[in-house]
Structures are given as structure tokens and as C-alpha cells.
Homo-oligomer: 215 residues x 2
Amino acid sequence: MQESAEKSGMRMAELSRRSGLSVPTIKYYLREGLLQPGRRTSVNQAVYDRTHLERLHLIGALTSVAGLPLAKVRAVVDAVDGQASEVEAMGVVQDALIDEAETDDTAASAILDRAITARGWHCAKSSPAYRAAVNAVAMLTTENLTPILDRLDAYVEAAEDVGRTDLDAISDAVSLEERIRGVVLGSVLRRPLLEALVLLAQQHFAQDLTRSEES
Amino acid sequence: MQESAEKSGMRMAELSRRSGLSVPTIKYYLREGLLQPGRRTSVNQAVYDRTHLERLHLIGALTSVAGLPLAKVRAVVDAVDGQASEVEAMGVVQDALIDEAETDDTAASAILDRAITARGWHCAKSSPAYRAAVNAVAMLTTENLTPILDRLDAYVEAAEDVGRTDLDAISDAVSLEERIRGVVLGSVLRRPLLEALVLLAQQHFAQDLTRSEES
DNA sequence: TCTTAATAGGTAGTTATACTATCCATAATA
DNA sequence: TATTATGGATAGTATAACTACCTATTAAGA
């Protein structure tokens, strides 16, 4: 038998080799319901296909790149399995990427509202993303980091550019399945990209700062 | 004895109450060298002051908000303890916030370079931030998320705005100690702020998308 | 002063997460 | 037919971040 990359059917050994995950790990994901079962051919035999490989890639991105716990990975893959629209899928991924923290800071909420209504955003105040933003403003307030809060409008404007670009990128894909994939993987992989780019920009401007101090 | 918020000296019970951390947890942080020892008054007595409370706040921000493991928290507080400049402190925090992943993808590096040299950035190619950016581009490439890569310039531009604003905020503070604090806490707390704002922007534009589909 | 509570410092135990190892009966492969 | 692979189940491991307990002291209150 040869393990061809062309044919879609494969057994556990090839799935392991092509995904880079150990057989016990794949079995663990099967037990946890993260990976859908293969097509059974006997009482102790099953074949897997391209969809299983893609699922393992997705699980890998969610765990390694986004650092999500398997419980949240399960929520995301369940949403992908269900017939969710791209917007619904985006909501599920957003919720998974946010670590919840209860907040009811009306002062912080007012500061945030002023900044986002200035740009005419419509967003759900009940969403985890809104609560996370309020929480971030509240933290900055309690730590007296006024220089950052004073520049909230600048961050909102930059966030708008990023968010618009994200949505632009989604609408590029043709099929719904492709858009779902783009939403989920894009949300997960665009995050570290932007974060790293911001750090590089900081480096760039910090060099200017150092040079101007030396002169 | 009354526990006054005015006086700087306090014992373990008050440190615990005011930090919101349990006594065993504070003892654990002392053992791990994250919290500096108090001033000893007897063989089994010590007093703590405002600096201990601030340190516990910092540890809390680094663990709860940034989700850093205690090993990285230790690296950050060691840098804060040492007489680092604000730029050095920023470097240490950047390194702590980035989860390392070895990459030597020349194709991804070329794509990134084209985008950042277009904006005239000078950044160290040996820095963890650069490697993280290359890694992010490489991941997007292997996942065929070309819509995002096609918009790399837009993300770089947004990142530049954020990075410039970050540095602006730092230079606002007066004393070096205040700037160090601003750099460390600002780097940690600005991250979830921007992330949440981006998600809110996505929500805003997604609503537009939904409405246009409905019509 | 006497009694009760708190403290520093140490060792050991706990919880949660994410695997990893071993078994066994069966099936595929050489 | 001998060896290897597989599915399914159960149990064990590694690590991180606490948490509990202990002992000898010290502090604080009646």
C-alpha cells in the first residue's frame, strides 16, 4: 500500500503523518469530540479524508496560534459544523477569543460610548466584545493611564481601519464554505499579525525617540 | 490597631486585603521571587509598603490581563527592578508578550519586508517581534488566506498609527519611573483595548454587510 | 499577664489541562 | 501465518498555579 496525497481516503497512520500530530493525540481529539469520527469500514477500522485533515489544521491554529483551551475550540468547531452564516461564525470566534471578565463600570462605558458614537459605530452593548472594551477602559482608568485614554479616538480610528479591512477580506471569498473558513482562520491568524506589526511600529518610533535623545 | 490606607507600612493581612490576593498566594509569589521581600522587623515579622502593593497590581495585570506565565512575569519585574530605560523596558515587555516560534521562511520575510520598507520602518530583523510577524505571514500563506495578505499594507498602516500613538502616550509622562510604569502597564493593557475595539469595528461593518444582503 | 490570633518559612497536597501509555480484540498487510 | 496497525477504553504523566498544613515565633487584646 502506498500513501498517496491524491486520494482522499486515508487511515490513522497517514492522518497522523500528514497532520503532524501523534496518533494518541488524534485519538484524544476524537474522544473529546473535536475531530469528527471517520467513516467506519469494520468494527475497528475507519477511513479519514481531507475534511479531517482540515479540521486538525483548524484545531492546531486555535490551540497553538490563538492559545485557546480545548473547550473553546470545541465551541468554534461546533459552530463550523452547524450551518452558521459567516457573521454567526464570526460572532462565535469573537466570543472564543475574548476572555470574559464581569464589568459594570458605567464611567468606563460612558468614555467608550463617546469614542465609538463619534465614529458612528453600531455595536451590541450586550456582546462580549463590548464588555471587553469597557473592561479595558476601566482597567486603564484604575491604573491612571490617562495618556492612553486621552488617545482613545486614535485607537478607535485605527481599529476601524483594521475591522473594515477584515470584512473586506471576507467578502473576497466566493463560496460560503470558503467564507466561513476565511472568517474563522482569518480571525485567529490576523490577530498575531497585527500585534506583531504594532510591536514593529513601536520599534521604529522608539528608534526615533532614542536618536532624538542622543542628539 | 487600625489598617489605614494612609500609612505606607502594613503587614501581610492588610497586603492581602488591599491586593485582593489570598495570603498563601502572596507567600507563593514571595517564594517565586515575583514579589520583593518586606522589610524584616523580627525573625518572623515583616512590613510591606506601597511598592509591594503596586508590584502585586503589576503581577495581576501581567497574569490576568496579558495571560503571561509566571516565568515571563518574573522577566518583566526583573527588568522593572533593574534600572532599565523606557525603551529597554518596552523591549522586555515585547519579548514577554510574544510567544516564540522558530521560522526561517524567506518567502514570508520578503512579503513582510516589501510592506514595511514601503512605509520606511527601521526594525531589527533579529527581534522576536520581527520573527513573530514573519511567522504570522507564513501561517497566512500556508493557509492560503490571500485576501488578508493582499491587504497587508492596510494592516501595516493601521499598526503604524497604533505604534505612533503608543509612543506618543509614553512621552507624556514626566518622571522616568512613571514612563517605565506607563510602558509596561500600557503595553499590557492597550493590547486587549485595541483587540476589543477591532472586534467592535467588525461588528459594525458586519451589520452593514447583513443589511445589504437582506435588501 | 495570659490568651488568642497572626506571621515567616517550609513541605506537601490539590486542581485543571492536555496530552501519553498501555491493553485488548480485531483487522490489515507482507 | 507472522507482524503490524487500528479502535476503543482506562489509566498514567507533566506542568502550572496555587492551596493546605505545620512549627516556632511574635503581636494584640482583655
